[in-house]
Symmetry: C2
Subunit: 218 residues, 2 copies
Amino acid sequence: MTAASDRAADELRTRILGGEYRPGERLGETELAATLGVSRTPVREALRRLAADGLVEITTNKGARVVEHPHADLDAIFAIRAHVEGIAARTAAERVSDADLDRLDEIATELTRCSDAGLIEEVYRLNSQFHGLINGLSESTVLTSTVNQLIHASVLFRTLHAFDEDARRRSCAHHHEIVAALRARDGAWAEAVMHAHLFSARASLLGPRPRGADEGSR
Amino acid sequence: MTAASDRAADELRTRILGGEYRPGERLGETELAATLGVSRTPVREALRRLAADGLVEITTNKGARVVEHPHADLDAIFAIRAHVEGIAARTAAERVSDADLDRLDEIATELTRCSDAGLIEEVYRLNSQFHGLINGLSESTVLTSTVNQLIHASVLFRTLHAFDEDARRRSCAHHHEIVAALRARDGAWAEAVMHAHLFSARASLLGPRPRGADEGSR
DNA sequence: TCGACGTCGAATGTATGCAATGCGCGAGAA
DNA sequence: TTCTCGCGCATTGCATACATTCGACGTCGA
């Protein structure tokens, strides 16, 4: 939002996703304010925003804690992400501008480079940008915030670290292919690749699918 | 969140949904604070929350405005809801207890009664309970919170008011059929009805689908 | 010794004061 | 007359002070 509030939110997000604050850990407003060098007000705003993104849980008069996912199933998260981001990709194909395409191309290329170099943090950042850009094209506040929530939830499990070499290369290839599909203004293609992209990621993280796990869901 | 903040958020939500504040209208913090009888702080929090729900748009140093074209979202929202709640219904079929079933039956019956009597507010409440109960059975925090957000977002545009007589009856019938499917422990059936339930609602609200609108999404 | 109640402390929620940014209006020049 | 520059006002963002609530510790009683 504003300088202080934004910085606080970004900083906290980074720390939570980076594992600096562990799931279930208490986040005191006063303490955070001191740490971040701002007053409690922007800290509060930042915490509310992170709560909206599903990163922390706020209980009245009890404060904020890093969200715990005791029975969060990555399985469902990726199924939903595939569906939602697939829709986003499809609609994006109709609205994407040439400038957007060039930007996406840049990101995909840079992403491949960083991925090859093993720069995990950079990969995470660029990956967020890539998906965020596409999701943003849908121009739907609800949709983008939904996806953000899901993405954060999955990132909390440090998904990217678990990728093996094949999956890593596939992921990079998918990004480029998505750009190609968008450049061709081919919504169905873009959606299909996005599905593959996320199902591939899920498979890498969770191993083989149990029989009939997705039965009836597509 | 807290008393004042909650009251402010609820009040603003009601007013926006009720059309008291028109799309694009500016919402000044000071003015709202005076109107609601609280200070600016809880008003600010309420506005941020509504922004997270997609009801208002906040621009830094420029304030909050009621969102302009919410209906653009409804299409995507219902598509996602159908998918996610379909999954929830399917998994619920495996886990639902007899007590849950009886409770769902009660709600569905009461829902039909209130719907026939035209008690819109009650219908809202019971409908939320019904879907919430089913979604809760999935025991996935991420899933339920995602859906809650979407439900929230779709409720807001006074969706139910727009239902015609046929659609209203179909909706009631769907609820009962979902209970029947769950009682039969038939996940595929439950999922299918839930899809129909939400697609029917969407159709009632948005009219005929444009050609190929859902192409490739199932 | 165990349990319950009361008080104290810390942290959140709310209100208000101060600073900074954006916007509109008006005056002056071309 | 119109465009531009600049100043003043209003509103938002941040900081701080006050109120309220929750939890913990200690004491008293059974």
